[in-house]
Symmetry: C2
Subunit: 262 residues, 2 copies
């Protein structure tokens, strides 16, 4: 027996005796809903868009960049002292100047050959940012350009690596989560009107309980995860940003419902 105990064995453990991955990356599908208040006193028209960056054709030394010119999800290599999730936060800040956002992991992409550089594993996250964050965005070091695209527009683009697949998965995931969890709140201001919430939900559902406006306003106040926004005096807050008539504002309560098919 060469080693007496686990401590000693660990000192002799050398991972390079085995084949190890060549890289570990985090890619982020940054969703935003453009709540276009085109006219005053109108409920917004929502559009679900994804932020993509166009990869630079070459780096600062003039070397051609892998998959240069193609559009891609923001992301990059995870450093050994961080989790993929932390790397995602860092990359978003570096590449797209996007901060303070909600992240959720939704998949791992590790098909051999997906990246010509070698055995590279990608963790996919989706993030949701409200529109105003994106106004502050700017292209950074290895991003030539940044843009917002609908799923339809993305299908026309040439995408890097297997990002088209990742993006389709991301859209499916956000659709599911919008209906089964309260993530819709990430697309909305803290306090919102029912027509704003409804315009977000209409992106992903044609349930009559949502489409039918009367039914929606009748039932929404009863949802266990919503409550009316009130001021110090206990009065319901109102706004007229979606209609001439002042309308109630709501907020999400800290309650996670568990819908069931049974």
């Amino acid at each position: 027996m060469k080693y007496q105990n686990e401590e000693e064995m660990l000192q002799h453990y050398d991972s390079k005796e085995y084949v190890t991955p060549d890289g570990y990356t985090a890619d982020i599908a940054v969703f935003t809903i453009e709540l276009a208040y085109k006219e005053e006193y109108k409920p917004p028209k929502a559009e679900l868009k994804l932020l993509l960056i166009q990869r630079a054709k070459s780096d600062k030394d003039g070397e051609p960049h892998i998959q240069g010119g193609k559009w891609a999800l923001p992301g990059g290599f995870v450093k050994p002292d961080e989790t993929a999730s932390k790397a995602a936060v860092r990359e978003l800040s570096e590449e797209a100047s996007v901060n303070n956002i909600k992240l959720k992991h939704f998949g791992v992409y590790d098909t051999p050959g997906r990246d010509k550089r070698g055995w590279i594993i990608s963790n996919a996250f989706y993030a949701i940012v409200t529109n105003d964050y994106l106004y502050k965005r700017k292209a950074a070091d290895d991003a030539e350009n940044v843009g917002l695209f609908t799923l339809k527009e993305i299908d026309q683009l040439e995408l890097a690596f297997d990002h088209k697949i990742i993006i389709h998965d991301a859209f499916q995931m956000i659709r599911k989560d919008l209906l089964q969890t309260t993530v819709a709140k990430e697309f909305l201001p803290k306090e919102f009107t029912l027509s704003e919430l409804r315009s977000v939900l209409l992106l992903v559902s044609d349930d009559p309980g949502i489409v039918n406006n009367s039914a929606f306003v009748r039932d929404a106040p009863k949802y266990p995860f919503l409550e009316e926004a009130r001021n110090q005096k206990g009065e319901i807050k109102k706004t007229n940003r979606t209609a001439k008539q002042m309308t109630r504002m709501f907020r999400f309560k800290d309650f996670q419902p568990m819908p069931s098919i049974y």
Copy 2:
């Protein structure tokens, strides 16, 4: 410019210029429901259990094994020519002689320091096997022992790495999926009685629509993802394995419902 194009650049790309992970593993939470038909003509009593292996204290050369003696999820290193998902299938077959099962990825565990051997990333899957598969199980090379445990029992065990966290996540995930998808079918034979389905659902829900037997049998036949099992003559198949009285059998249709909180 050193390189003329992407081909040439790739030839010179050397991942070892960067720090890369020391390992990429797949761990599998193998669930099974023991449908104990203790007495004849009784609906089964269901218990949700997880398969764990006890890590060998040392390998065949007598070297101490990392985290030897502790209980752990079956799993192991992913090879460079496979996906984590494929590795999971292989490991299950090798370590626990479990084959032909449904796998679902549910998380990545990459907190620095989670494995003393270095920067090791684990993909977590859950798998569902019906009871009979497990009767064929046997401990293999680096597993000293194999056992089935309830969540309560697991909390008493000493577990390797961060497997206790992974296991808790796995139980949460299976609970959610049982209620929001049709995975329940993986715990059941292809054709089952309503009391068998109900005993599975009772593990994770106290919804009155499930608890109340009359309500359950009244509504279940109307679920869009269930249909009566019929023979060639078009008659509803029946069995008396859960009661003296013959009872209808059902099967899952190929329909994925999308429950909603709105």
